[in-house]
């Protein structure tokens, strides 16, 4: 097992707390961790999953491998793994002595059943799997063509291994609702209480002794119990942690950050969210936006950086690339500061592009057509701050002669708009720890909606080549290199207008120690977390 280097921001934060307090690492066992958070949709992640589900269940189900925030892979249920030369065969050796919460054995066959379920029910999320077999203690996945991100996919919390005894005994519906004796994994915590719409109670699994290679200790977890209470309202979660009713509050809004920072009993735990920053996808099937000069004018015509500081109050940084710093291994820091706000230059670009005539309402006109852009976003991609920010974009674009209107719609309506190609801009962020899959989905020329998110109709052969290479390679270094090349091409062509890098912000009691973020941008596990008594 690796005890070692401080790897993540979360740990760095708690380490500095130790330094200040002059204490050594003296983890204490026991205690109840109370978390105010969002509710998971379904307790069997193969049936339905959201990021909320993942955080709540990542300590109930173990995965084959673990991926750190830095992008390094560690053994977990798979003690080792290998990939064939041609990238078509992945073999995982399953560790001995692992049992599920109900005492049944976790072996290669149990893993195969889970993977087969993923292939059958979810078409393996598009991974070209042709077969999953188990022989002895080895599980083998065979692909029809190379798919580099497979390791990442298997490290995601949705790939937690569910006990076959639970899959056999209960219907999908029962597993989704979940509860003690239904929701069964092999993780460091087991489900002992579940009230839908209210809470999920976990208790330490005393037999646990198979943490991932990234864990900081062995044996059972430190915490005795985890009580998750589902509170949808931001201010109520924050109030709960401020009044000491909760030890951790998820999703702290920007407006509450200062209050938590100023409270000596509380700490902010924050990390860069891995993924694509909050950005505008620019629809190039609109002739006006097919002109690169217009896209560049939109990119430099608004003072995004100042707006980010004014609106997000230090909870986001200005973004300059299609990948956030939350994926450090693939992020190209060289893109930072590639452009800066210059309204005059933006106007000149628009003039040059033929939009030199200005109408009575201040909006540019070309061949009787006004330069008017319709932006759409979905309710669940939006929040109050983005709403406010959009007003800043509108004012900025108006000043250079572009009309901008933004509609916030329920997702199903957005989906219909996209299919009908009735939009000019789409603003959202995407969250995932795998840069290759993200950019392939958002910019590869065949990745059109609804199978994927190339909302900009980007079609650039050089970009396609980089993305195809990245996705086909099983070597993380090659993937990351290609993803960096892709980030540069995306900026060269102004295919995306990155705005802000969101952060994951938790408010916590200062008694909470040992939190570490994983590649999914959430606290990786509560296995190493402990409470100062």
């Amino acid at each position: 097992m690796r005890h070692s280097v401080i790897r993540t921001l979360g740990l760095a934060l708690s380490a500095s707390v130790f330094a200040l307090g002059g204490q050594a690492f003296a983890q204490q066992s026991g205690g109840v961790l109370r978390i105010a958070t969002y509710e998971p949709l379904c307790l069997d992640q193969n049936e339905g999953s959201s990021r909320n589900t993942q955080t709540a269940l990542q300590d109930v189900y173990d995965r084959l491998i673990y991926k750190s925030q830095e992008g390094e892979y560690f053994p977990w249920l798979a003690s080792e793994w290998s990939v064939s030369e041609d990238g078509l065969t992945y073999s995982f050796t399953i560790r001995d002595g692992v049992v599920f919460h109900d005492g049944t054995t976790l072996d290669a066959e149990a893993v195969r059943i889970n993977l087969q379920r993923w292939v059958d029910d979810r078409s393996a999320n598009g991974v070209p799997v042709t077969a999953v077999t188990a022989e002895g203690n080895v599980v083998t996945i065979t692909l029809s063509e190379p798919h580099g991100p497979l390791l990442h996919d298997l490290s995601e919390p949705v790939q937690g291994i569910v006990a076959p005894s639970s899959i056999e005994a209960f219907s999908k519906e029962e597993r989704c609702a979940g509860g003690p004796d239904i929701t069964i994994g092999s993780g460091p915590f087991k489900v002992v209480g579940r009230t839908q719409g209210q809470d999920l109670i976990l208790e330490r699994f005393e037999d646990y002794n198979w943490p991932s290679g990234a864990a900081q200790h062995e044996g059972p977890a430190y915490l005795e119990r985890i009580e998750m209470r589902f509170l949808t309202e931001d201010s109520v979660r924050v109030g709960a942690v401020e009044s000491g009713q909760a030890d951790i509050a998820a999703g702290v809004p920007a407006i509450s950050v200062a209050a938590i920072e100023g409270n000596s009993n509380l700490q902010l735990i924050r990390a860069e969210q891995p993924g694509i920053p909050w950005s505008m996808w620019v629809n190039q099937s609109n002739p006006a936006l097919a002109d690169q000069r217009v896209r560049e004018a939109i990119r430099i015509g608004v003072d995004y950086a100042s707006l980010v500081n004014a609106v997000f109050l230090g909870t986001s940084s200005p973004a300059y690339s299609a990948i956030t710093p939350g994926i450090p291994a693939a992020y190209d820091a060289g893109q930072e500061g590639r452009w800066s706000f210059d309204a005059e230059a933006a106007k000149a670009l628009l003039d040059e592009a033929g939009w030199s005539e200005i109408g009575a309402d201040g909006i540019r006109v070309k061949d009787v057509e006004r330069l008017s852009l319709k932006a759409v976003t979905a309710t669940n991609w939006n929040n109050q701050q983005r709403e406010l920010f959009a007003q800043g974009i509108q004012a900025g674009l108006q000043a250079i002669g572009i009309e901008y209107s933004r509609e916030v719609l329920d997702f199903a309506t957005v989906d219909a708009r996209m299919k009908a190609n009735e939009y000019d801009l789409v603003d959202t962020s995407q969250s995932s720890g795998d840069g290759a899959t993200l950019l392939y989905g958002a910019f590869q020329s065949t990745s059109l909606w609804p199978a994927n998110t190339n909302w900009g109709f980007v079609n650039d052969p050089a970009l396609d080549e980089a993305l195809n290479t990245a996705v086909a390679s099983a070597d993380p270094d090659v993937q990351n290199e290609q993803v960096r090349i892709a980030q540069k091409i995306i900026n060269d062509g102004a295919y995306l207008i990155p705005i802000a890098n969101p952060q994951v912000i938790l408010g916590a009691s200062t008694k909470v120690k040992g939190t570490v973020f994983s590649s999914s941008g959430q606290i990786g596990s509560f296995y190493d977390v402990w409470l100062e008594q």
Partner: protein, 311 residues
């Protein structure tokens, strides 16, 4: 008309209302521009064609519309409301599992509001006094303050500032006090104003004068005679509000993080989880129909004039 016959007619009418509600829901559902498959997989996932086709077959979305309507009505008649796109559970099990919590909340809130309104109207009806002005002002305040705000205020003071009623880690009666108060206050204002207005009229009636001349105290006149008049509109409003509360506890349930129908409805509407929306619509319509029939029967208990079959 006899009571039995009237009841029969009311039930028939109720069934027609339910059928209309179901059909309307189906039509609206067909008019939505959205693709249920995308809804099923959620906003953040991209879906392969193979998965799409499988989902279409699984939910019967690949059949002609009239056939879908036939199956829809057929299933409802068998008490099957289909299965949630999002939660992959049957709608019936979702509603029944959430119902208990909401009913508790709605019943307690209605009792709280009705009690408070009865006291307020009995004590302040029929006279101009300082107490009446204060109570009226309070009623107006309760009507015009959004439940969301009331809930947050109560939480801020009675949970965060002084931890009397915790929002976490307590499932006893204490966890019910603030939500019941929030929801109850929201309906108290209207209820109290209507009941007082009715009592004002009743206290002017000849029967009130007669009662007083018989030597009945002012309190007896109010409690035993005038209140009956006020209870009729009071009950009607309470019954209507109770039905609305079942689906309308949304805000209270959201603020206090409680399970319940309101929360489920909100989730289903924002995610366009149509089977759940339709299920809740039908359920609430049923509750309206039943409470209306029940209230009509209750009137007869309260007001003897309605008992005569000749009318």
């Amino acid at each position: 008309m006899t009571t039995a016959r009237e009841l029969f007619v009311r039930i028939l009418a109720g069934a027609a209302v339910l059928w209309a509600a179901a059909s309307l829901a189906f039509v609206v559902l067909q008019m939505l521009p959205s693709d249920p498959v995308q809804v099923i997989y959620g906003a953040d996932s991209t879906v392969t064609q193979e998965m799409r086709d499988r989902i279409r077959t699984e939910y019967g979305l690949d059949r002609p519309i009239w056939e879908q309507y036939g199956q829809f009505v057929g299933r409802i008649l068998q008490g099957d409301l289909g299965s949630s796109y999002q939660q992959r559970r049957s709608v019936v099990s979702i509603i029944t599992s959430e119902l208990g919590s909401t009913i508790t909340l709605a019943v307690l809130a209605t009792i709280f509001a009705l009690t408070l309104a009865t006291i307020a109207s009995v004590t302040t009806a029929g006279k101009q006094s300082r107490a009446r002005s204060i109570v009226s002002a309070f009623e107006l305040l309760a009507i015009s303050t959004p439940a969301f705000w009331i809930g947050l205020l109560l939480l801020t003071f009675l949970s965060f500032q002084w931890p009397i009623f915790p929002v976490m880690g307590d499932d006893s009666w204490r966890s019910l006090v603030l939500p019941v108060t929030t929801l109850g206050l929201a309906i108290f204002g209207t209820l109290s104003q209507v009941m007082r207005a009715e009592m004002d009229i009743a206290l002017e009636q000849p029967f009130a004068l007669t009662a007083r001349t018989r030597g009945l105290s002012e309190w007896s006149v109010r409690w035993r005679h005038a209140l009956r008049h006020a209870l009729i509109p009071g009950l009607t409003i309470s019954a209507e509000m109770f039905g609305a509360l079942l689906a309308g506890a949304i805000i209270t349930e959201r603020v206090f993080g409680r399970p319940g129908l309101g929360r489920i409805t909100l989730q289903a509407v924002t995610n366009q989880d149509i089977p759940v929306v339709v299920g809740v619509v039908l359920f609430v319509a049923t509750v309206f129909v039943i409470t209306n029939i029940a209230v009509d029967l209750l009137y007869r208990l309260i007001d003897p004039r309605l008992r005569s079959t000749a009318a």
